[in-house]
Point group: C2
Chain length 216, copies 2
């Protein structure tokens, strides 16, 4: 049964692949699972039909037969659990890959989201200029630790996993900030993620929503 | 094999149960699994031995034989996957419970963490008074949606699950802010969590670290 995911009807990042549907598209491409996309407007996202699927009125959602899921982390995990390619078979390695998924979403992403809020929602506030460097230093604390752990490795723990998929996408949200460039091994890590054929297919598909042209 | 978790040697919240080891203690108590605790100082948390266990130098960690895990979400999930009591057996219900775990950690907790940062780390900044209400309104957006979904139910989706455990603990981080009181069904939901015998045992155990007295 082909699953259906939801994505923004009007891409707020102009097709730069930063919205959370990208994580799900990428996971689906990694495991080779075809999917359909239903686009939703900002208005429709907060209406009862969508809130029944996603209690917080966001994207992405995932529908497959009787099952409806929300939260990109949960959806990627659901895909990874049922299809080969995103989680190791060995039990301990699998549990560690799941640790990295949670680390991406609950340890690395929160300060990055805080920066996004500071830049977008508090853009015109008097404190913006003074506060932003403090927020960015909190991101650097996390990136320094992450960089130390990654070292010279290609991926965080052995082969590419759903943990890397999440971490790479979370780090991509720093695009344009220049912060990632301060950590050459993390920049290379993100570039390795972006170079994966599955990432490229997913990126082209979300860009096509913005340009109105189908991906080639 | 009895697992060992780590917790703060000096409880920064004075034993109020807000540190993330509480989530793991609670999960272990729910499934009836005995555990050991190793206390770590703030200094030791950033030293190589602990960083080998936790790349971001935080607590909790979880060690069981050859396996070492970090991130409270991943540890609770690991426990829930291997022991009855925290995830439904039915596949779709299980996937939805996992959605709530991720929602607690990646949708509800980030604005709550932002408030914590504003109150603790930016306490003396000139913008504190003006900015805090903005941050709190972002929390209210999430709580309003969560309250709407919970309605009159006891738990978020059927029986109590790891999703409720995470959500209740994330909401507890609003203690003392008065914000939770604005949502009577969420306050009652959190109180139901705190009333669970497993929660009480876990709370007593972490409090004992602070008071220096063993839980009775």
């Amino acid at each position: 049964m082909t699953p259906t995911i939801t994505a923004f009807e009007r891409s707020p990042d102009r097709g730069r692949g930063l919205a959370r549907d990208m994580r799900v598209r990428w996971a689906l491409e990694e495991v080779g699972l075809p999917y359909k996309v239903r686009l939703v407007s900002f208005k429709a996202m907060k209406e009862p039909a969508h809130l029944a699927l996603h209690p917080f009125g966001q994207i992405p959602t995932f529908e497959e037969g009787d099952l409806a899921l929300f939260e990109s982390g949960a959806i990627v995990f659901h895909i990874a659990e049922r299809h080969a390619g995103l989680l190791p078979d060995e039990a301990n390695a699998r549990a560690r890959a799941i640790s990295w998924m949670f680390a991406a979403l609950n340890t690395v992403e929160p300060p990055i989201l805080e920066r996004q809020t500071a830049v977008l929602l508090e853009r015109d506030e008097t404190w913006r200029e003074q506060r932003l460097p403090m927020v960015e230093d909190r991101i650097r604390d996390r990136l320094g630790e992450l960089s130390g752990r990654l070292g010279d490795a290609d991926w965080l723990d052995g082969a590419f996993s759903a943990g890397d998929l999440m971490m790479v996408h979370v780090l991509l949200r720093l695009s344009g900030s220049g912060i990632l460039d301060e950590y050459p091994n993390l920049s290379a890590y993100v570039a390795r993620g972006e170079a994966r054929p599955a990432y490229k297919r997913a990126f082209a598909a979300q860009l096509a929503v913005f340009t109105g042209k189908s991906p080639t």
